[in-house]
C-alpha cells in the first residue's frame, strides 16, 4: 500500500490572508475541438464546458475551467479518497472521448497543487508578483486566468469574492508557497 503525501503540509494564517493546500482533488485535463467533444462531455458530466475565455462553470461535483479554445481543466469540488486513484469520471470520459478520438482526457491530479488563498489581502499578494490586471477579475466570481506569479506559471480560479484557488505545478509548489509566505509576512 502506498501512502499519500501532498507537497504542502502547513496551513498559514496572516492578517487578511489564510493559505492552505486542498488535497486530494481530482483534476482532469480535457482537450478537444469538435461540437461532438463538447456535447459528449456535457452529457457525461452533466455540465457544459465554458467556451467563453477566462471563465468557469460548476456543478455539484465538478468545476470546469477554460484554459484555451481547446483545453479545459475539470476538478472535483470535494476531497477524494487517498487510498484509491481510480476515478470513475476519468475512466468514463477516457472511454467516451479519448478512445473515440473526440479529443484527449488526461489525469493531472498531481500535476497541479491546489492552494487556496482567502482574505481581503489576496489580491495584494498577487499584485506584488503578477502583472495580470485583477481590477475586473476581483469583481467577477468564477473568473479564471492563467498567468505568472513570481515567474511561476499558475492558474487562478476566483471561487468566491476574496477567495481564490491557485493551481501550480507540483514541483514549483514549495518555492511558490515560500514566496507567498514571505510576501504575506510583509503585508
Amino acid at each position: 500500500m502506498l501512502n499519500y503525501k501532498s507537497s504542502i503540509i502547513e496551513d498559514k494564517k496572516y492578517s487578511g490572508l489564510s493559505i492552505k493546500e486542498i488535497s486530494p482533488i481530482m483534476k482532469l485535463n480535457l482537450r478537444g475541438k469538435s461540437r461532438d467533444f463538447l456535447s459528449t462531455i456535457g452529457k457525461n458530466i452533466n455540465m457544459i464546458l465554458p467556451i467563453e475565455a477566462n471563465t468557469s462553470s460548476s456543478s455539484d461535483k465538478y468545476t470546469s475551467m477554460w484554459l484555451s479554445p481547446d483545453e479545459w481543466m475539470i476538478i472535483s469540488n470535494n476531497i477524494i479518497d487517498k487510498e484509491n486513484n481510480n476515478y470513475e469520471i476519468e475512466e468514463l470520459l477516457f472511454n467516451k472521448i479519448s478512445k473515440t478520438n473526440l479529443g484527449s482526457v488526461t489525469d493531472v491530479s498531481d500535476q497541479f497543487v491546489l492552494i487556496n488563498l482567502e482574505g481581503e489581502s489576496v489580491f495584494d499578494i498577487l499584485s506584488s508578483g503578477c502583472a495580470f490586471n485583477f481590477n475586473e477579475f476581483m469583481q467577477k466570481k468564477g473568473a479564471v486566468t492563467q498567468t505568472l506569479l513570481a515567474q511561476v506559471d499558475i492558474i487562478i480560479h476566483h471561487k468566491e469574492i476574496n477567495n481564490i484557488n491557485l493551481f501550480v505545478r507540483r514541483s514549483f509548489s514549495e518555492h511558490l508557497m515560500s514566496w507567498i509566505n514571505d510576501a504575506a509576512s510583509r503585508l
Partner: protein, 91 residues
C-alpha cells in the same frame, strides 16, 4: 513592455508571451525536392527590418496558442494581431 492583446485571452503583459520570429514562412511540403539553396532559404533567411514586420508570437504562459502580429519595429507599435491560418493583411 508591450501590452499584447491575445486573440483568445485578451490583453496581457508581454511577460506572458514568447516571440517566435518572422511569420508566414511555411515549412516546405516536400523538403526532399529542394536544392541546398532552396532549403537554406527556408531554414536561415529572415528579414530584420526597421519598420512594419510580420511576427509570430505565442501566449506561452497563458493559453499556449500561437498567433500573428504586425509590429512596427521602429516604434514598437502593434498594428494588428490575427490568428494562425488567417491571411496577412495586404496593406
Amino acid at each position: 513592455m508591450f501590452l499584447i492583446n491575445c486573440p483568445f485571452c485578451g490583453e496581457r503583459d508581454q511577460s506572458e508571451f514568447k516571440a517566435g520570429g518572422e511569420a508566414h514562412i511555411e515549412r516546405p511540403k516536400q523538403p526532399t525536392e529542394l536544392s541546398d539553396d532552396q532549403w537554406a532559404e527556408y531554414l536561415f533567411m529572415r528579414k530584420n527590418i526597421k519598420g512594419v514586420q510580420f511576427e509570430r508570437w505565442n501566449h506561452a504562459h497563458g493559453c499556449r496558442k500561437w498567433f500573428n502580429m504586425v509590429r512596427d519595429t521602429s516604434n514598437d507599435e502593434i498594428k494588428l494581431i490575427y490568428k494562425m491560418g488567417e491571411k496577412p493583411p495586404t496593406e
